[in-house]
Every structure is written in structure tokens, then in C-alpha cells.
């Protein structure tokens, strides 16, 4: 990066800090910010950021569009905080991510922002980093049994699953047959999202039975083939709602439902609010998708890390869990979707 570019970024960073308080009120296009987020934004505005710092950003795997977006947002947030960001791709393997963490600790990075691939496998390297004096913020995914985390920033996946369940109760007051497409068995978000849906529907299981429950491993081709197989067994009596634990599976299910000529009868709910899913919510293909604000999470996590490194983070805020409230995006509140700008013609 040339000197002029660096200077430019400094200027942008400075400008951002000046307008940060105004941004705080309606960041994310009308999304309501929590008190914690407002406090962090205010602290960022007051913290002097003349000195450049180096932050490592590690995600489970850049083969998932969700994490590509998160990484882009982490890097963008870093630029606004006058922080150089080292990008680390875990390639969906705990061992790769462990090695990455060990490498940047040896390298002498100022802080690490990490979305751990596994709740347990990453505990040791993260604890080792903290013990070596490198502050760590976890984002989106938890890690278990680690002492001394600066913060965890995330969206409560269980609440997202509950939002899907509540949409069904509201839109099918007389009951509905539900098909549940689960994520990759054993993955944290898959377990939590499934839990959220069951939290709502199990209490009213007689009216809202989950008639089929299958995994499609978060993959679009499996979302398609599993839904085809499910529908083959239910052609005489198709389900009312298909709930998918991510958008890829929902988009695959949509292909199967449209091919079976059931698009008018079966509503599909996705999760993650990917641009493609937002576009399909807009044109009525999908009934809705859960937005967890990965961009909001990213900027909050990077802010907390930068504040801590610069000594600006309030004692009381250290060690907290910062949750952003997930929102179900439907045709009525499309403007809340974080990535709506990536959909052309909106």
C-alpha cells in the first residue's frame, strides 16, 4: 500500500470516527442497535486512533459465502479503525485454524478476532494466545472453556430459529405441516437453529407437526435432492412450510418445490439473508430469511478489539457477550437486510 493510500485511509478513518455517533442511531438501514453497540460506537468515536495496529481476522472457511462476506466486512471495519488486518482462512479444518492462530501469535499481532470452526478444538490455541498476552474476541461462533476473552460478539442462533417458528404460528393460525431441513450434523449453528425452531413448535406439536426432519448439510444440491425425495412421499398431502437452517438449502428446496408445481402451496424459510435469498424473498419465491447482521457483528467485534488494544475499552465492558438481535426478513421489511445493496434493481 502506498503512502498516499495510507494517508487516505487515515483521513477516512478520522471522518468515520467523527460521524460515528450519527451512524449509531440507524446503522444497517433502520436496524435497532442495542445499548451495548451504541456504547461501543461512542467509545470508538472518542478513542484516538493515530497509531496503526495489526489485527488478525480468522474465519472457519472462505468456501462459504457467509464467511467471505464476514471477512470482507472485518477488513472494511479494520480500515475504518486504522488497523491492518491479517486475513486467515481456516479452510473448514480446526487444525488449519489452530496453526493460523499459533502463527500470528508468534508474529506478534496486537489482537485476534476469530470465528472458531469448532467450539472445543479451538479452545486450546485461543487460550494459549490469551496466555501469551494477545487479546482475543470471538465472533458469530462460541468457543467453550476459555478464560479471559475480551468479548464474544454474535447473533443468537436460537433466537433466529425461534423467529422462523414464530413466523409459522403467525401466518398459519390454524396449524401447519412443517418440514425441517437441518444443517450439517454436529455444527454449532445447525444445532442452535434447530433448537430454536423446536422451542417454538414442540409446545404446539399437535397443530404444527414437524412431519419430516432431514439434514441437507447446509448444501444447495442436497437441499434440492432431499426436498425432491421428501415431496415424492407427500405429493397427495404436501407440507405447508419448509424451514431450512440456511439459505443454500432453502434455495435448493425452492428448485424442488417449483419443479413439483407446488410453489403456491409451500412456503419456504431460509436463514442468513444472503443476497440471492433476499432477491428471492423480494420476488416471492422464498417467504423469508433470517438476518443475523454479519456486517454489524464484524464492525462491533473489530471495534472492541481495537478499543482494547488502544486502552480505550471500559473495564466494565471487558468479558461481555454482545448479541445482535436477529430479524426475519420478509417482503414487508426488506430494507432491514444488510446486503440488499448487492441485489441489483433494489
Amino acid at each position: 500500500m502506498s503512502r498516499q493510500m495510507k494517508l487516505l485511509f487515515c483521513c477516512i478513518a478520522l471522518m468515520l470516527t467523527m460521524i460515528a455517533p450519527t451512524l449509531a442511531q440507524d446503522a444497517g438501514g433502520g436496524r435497532a442497535m442495542t445499548d451495548q453497540e451504541m456504547a461501543i460506537a461512542a467509545a470508538v468515536a472518542e478513542c484516538p486512533m493515530d497509531e496503526s495496529i495489526t489485527l488478525a481476522a480468522s474465519v472457519p472457511g472462505l468456501n462459504f459465502p457467509f464467511f467471505v462476506h464476514m471477512m470482507n466486512q472485518l477488513v472494511a471495519a479494520g480500515e475504518g479503525l486504522n488497523a491492518e488486518v491479517i486475513q486467515l482462512d481456516g479452510q473448514n479444518q480446526s487444525t488449519k485454524q489452530t496453526n493460523d492462530v499459533e502463527t500470528v501469535v508468534n508474529q506478534g499481532v496486537d489482537a485476534i478476532v476469530i470465528s472458531p470452526a469448532d467450539v472445543q478444538a479451538l479452545a486450546d490455541p485461543i487460550q494459549a494466545a490469551i496466555d501469551a498476552g494477545v487479546p482475543v474476541v470471538t465472533i458469530d461462533r462460541f468457543v467453550e472453556g476459555v478464560d479471559g476473552l475480551i468479548a464474544h460478539v454474535g447473533a443468537e442462533n436460537v433466537l433466529g430459529g425461534e423467529a422462523q417458528g414464530n413466523w409459522i404460528l403467525e401466518n398459519y393460525p390454524d396449524g401447519a405441516m412443517v418440514v425441517n431441513l437441518q444443517g450439517q450434523p454436529g455444527a454449532g449453528p445447525a444445532i442452535a437453529r434447530n433448537q430454536g425452531l423446536h422451542n417454538v413448535l414442540d409446545a404446539v406439536a399437535e397443530q404444527y407437526p414437524i412431519v419430516v426432519e432431514q439434514t441437507a448439510n447446509f448444501a444447495r444440491d442436497q437441499g434440492l435432492s432431499v426436498t425432491e425425495s421428501i415431496l415424492a412421499g407427500m405429493m397427495d398431502n404436501p407440507p405447508d412450510v419448509i424451514v431450512a437452517a440456511n439459505d443454500d438449502m432453502a434455495l435448493g428446496a425452492l428448485e424442488a418445490v417449483e419443479a413439483a408445481g407446488l410453489a403456491d402451496q409451500v412456503a419456504i424459510l431460509g436463514f442468513d439473508a444472503l443476497p440471492e435469498a433476499i432477491a428471492r424473498v423480494a420476488d416471492g419465491g422464498l417467504a423469508g430469511t433470517v438476518e443475523q447482521f454479519p456486517g454489524g457483528q464484524s464492525s462491533t467485534a473489530m471495534s472492541v478489539a481495537a478499543l482494547y488494544v488502544r486502552g480505550c475499552l471500559d473495564e466494565a465492558m471487558v468479558g461481555q457477550t454482545i448479541f445482535l438481535t436477529p430479524v426475519l426478513i420478509t417482503g414487508d421489511n426488506l430494507n432491514l437486510a444488510e446486503r440488499i445493496g448487492e441485489v441489483e434493481g433494489m
Partner: protein
């Protein structure tokens, strides 16, 4: 006299026994497939509906296509672990050509095709597959690096190239002519899906090549005993190179068909396909040591895996249990095949 008749009876009985074993050994995978289908049909009548069976055929057509190519490779005693990644790369290149760029913004307005048309996309996808196969085949034959290692490298490198090309996100929104290859049926709307026609067409072609041409016999010869093949004047390196080009061709074609089927090219497409493909070939009776097997067996092997997955979902078996059952049946099918083959030599 009596003695002679008894002897004759014994010989007769032995001959009958031998011929039953012979029949069994030839048709073991087919018998296994029909037994499985009968079991599913009894438990879940919807399984046998024509539409469901056609869907199963379409679901296996992409891994089946690659399995045809993999049969050539395994017949020579080789292996190709890179097929899933090469499929993703070819599908992505095809999508880029069809769209005229990597811009993956989604448009809600009518898509004006600014790309190069579907035929160019098919050619590009297949060319990438062939090129990938050629590079790997060259490394294997010229440098003498084991196929397992070269294609393990390809598994990683092709996936990386796909991510680099696409920026991690999916490309979608194709013209109808592009999606025809994956979604159409002949005749519409309940005829045979186009991917199935492609799959079976190439299966017949490959069968004829392997069974009735000189090249086909050379492939068997190289796998059966490479040293003897070399001494008898065969250009072993050239034949080995050719089988990796062939499997690359099928991975490229499969990449295009999958992209067309899903209406999207994803960087994560085809993850883990190598295992399904190799399982299809091996279940079909082709020996991993080379020199023994055929394409028709591979088609049956592909169908067997498809029937299993479909049937278990139709019966709503727990996803966890499904994985155990699939694993057991793969071992059982191959075990049965080996058992009857070992009896044949008695």
C-alpha cells in the same frame, strides 16, 4: 453303471452350482440393487412411483457421469481425488463465460444476456476439465508422482482456483437455454430428465469403447499388469495420461450440468463428490487394483447409492442413522461381490 450315474449326477450338480455362482458373480450389484429397491417399495409405496425413480436417476446423474470417467482411471489401477474440485472450477468457468464476467450481483429485472451463450459455456467447462486432467496426467506419467498425491494436490488447488475466480460467492441467474441442460425433461413435463439422458448416453458410449475397441483392451491391459503391457509394446504412459484426461472431461461436463441443474455455480459445489464417485465405481464391481470391472457396473453402483439415499429420506430415517446404514451397505455390497467372485474360481 450305478456308480457312473452317480458320478454324472454329482458332476451335473457341481456344474449347476458353478453356473449359479457365475451368474451371481456377474450380476451381484444388480441383484443387490433390486433387493434394496424391493425392500424400499414394500416399506414405502411412493418409492416405486415413476417420478420418484426418475428423480433418483437425475440425482445420481452428475456423480454418475464422473464415475464413468473414474472407471477408466480405476481400471488402470489409478485414482483421482480431485474430481469434486475440478467440477466446481469447470462449473464456475462455464458460468463466467455464460454471464460474460464474474459480476455475481443478482438482478431482479429481466436478465439481458451479455455473455457468450450456452454452447461456449459448455465448451469452456469441458475444456477446463480436460486441461485439469491433462495437467494431472502429465505430472503422474512424466514426473512419476503417485496419482494419489497429484490429485490430492488437485483437490486443493482446483478448489482454491474456484474461490479465487468467484471471490467465494455464487454466480446465478442464467438464461433459459443454459438451465435447459439441467432442468428440462424429454418430453416435458414428465419425461426423462436431460441429465439422465446425458449420463446414460455417455455410459453406453464408454461401455462400447471399453468393451469393443483396441483402446479399451489396452486400458484393461495396463491395469492388469503394467509391466507386461509395456513389454508387449503398449505405450503405457500415453494410456495412463488419457484416462486422467477422460475423467477430467467428465468432471468438466458434470460441473456444467450441476450448475445448470441448480441454476447457480457455487464455489462449494462438489465437495466430497470424490468419495461418492469412487464408492459408485467400487460398488459396481471394479477392482481398486485395476484390470477388472466395467462401466455398466458403475451405472448400477451409482443407482444403488442414489436409491439408498432417496429411500432412507422417504422413510424419514434419522440422518445420523442414515450415515451408518450407507456405510454398512457399501461394505456389504462390495463384500458380497468379492465373496461370489472368490467362489467362482472353485
Amino acid at each position: 453303471m450305478n456308480q457312473a450315474r452317480t458320478d454324472a449326477a454329482i458332476t451335473n450338480r457341481q456344474q449347476q452350482g458353478v453356473s449359479i455362482i457365475n451368474v451371481l458373480s456377474r450380476f451381484a450389484p444388480v441383484i443387490f440393487l433390486f433387493v434394496l429397491m424391493a425392500v424400499f417399495a414394500i416399506i414405502e409405496p411412493n418409492f416405486l412411483k415413476a417420478n420418484n425413480l426418475l428423480q433418483v436417476a437425475r440425482q445420481v446423474s452428475i456423480t454418475g457421469l464422473i464415475a464413468i470417467g473414474m472407471t477408466f482411471v480405476i481400471l488402470t489401477g489409478g485414482i483421482d481425488l480431485s474430481v469434486g474440485s475440478l467440477l466446481a472450477l469447470a462449473g464456475m468457468v462455464g458460468a463466467v463465460v455464460a454471464k460474460g464476467g464474474t459480476a455475481n450481483t443478482l438482478s431482479l429485472t429481466t436478465t439481458e444476456s451479455t455473455g457468450y451463450g450456452v454452447l461456449a459455456a459448455i465448451l469452456a467447462a469441458v475444456a477446463i476439465g480436460v486441461l485439469g486432467g491433462f495437467i494431472q496426467g502429465t505430472l503422474i506419467t512424466r514426473l512419476g508422482v503417485p496419482a494419489f498425491v497429484v490429485t490430492l494436490g488437485g483437490l486443493s488447488a482446483f478448489r482454491g482456483a474456484t474461490l479465487l475466480l468467484s471471490g467465494g460467492g455464487p454466480i446465478s441467474g442464467f438464461e433459459d437455454a443454459y438451465e435447459w441442460w439441467g432442468k428440462a425433461r424429454l418430453p416435458e413435463p414428465d419425461g426423462i430428465p436431460v441429465p439422465v439422458i446425458i449420463f446414460l448416453g455417455f455410459a453406453v458410449l464408454a461401455h462400447i469403447i471399453l468393451r469393443y475397441t483396441r483402446y479399451g483392451r489396452q486400458v484393461y491391459a495396463v491395469g492388469g499388469n503394467p509391466e507386461a503391457a509395456r513389454l508387449s509394446g503398449l505405450n503405457v504412459k500415453k494410456i495412463l495420461l488419457s484416462v486422467y484426461v477422460i475423467v477430467g472431461f467428465f468432471a468438466g461436463l458434470g460441473g456444467f450440468v450441476l450448475s445448470s441443474r441448480l441454476g447457480a455455480s457455487e464455489a462449494v459445489a462438489g465437495t466430497g463428490y470424490e468419495l461418492t464417485v469412487i464408492a459408485s465405481v467400487v460398488i459396481g464391481g471394479t477392482s481398486l487394483f485395476g484390470g477388472e470391472g466395467n462401466v455398466l457396473g458403475t451405472v448400477i453402483g451409482s443407482m444403488l447409492i442414489g436409491v439408498l439415499t432417496n429411500g432412507l429420506v422417504l422413510m424419514n430415517v434419522s440422518p445420523y442413522v442414515q450415515q451408518i446404514i450407507i456405510g454398512l451397505i457399501i461394505v456389504l455390497a462390495v463384500g458380497f461381490d468379492r465373496f461370489v467372485k472368490s467362489r467362482r474360481s472353485v
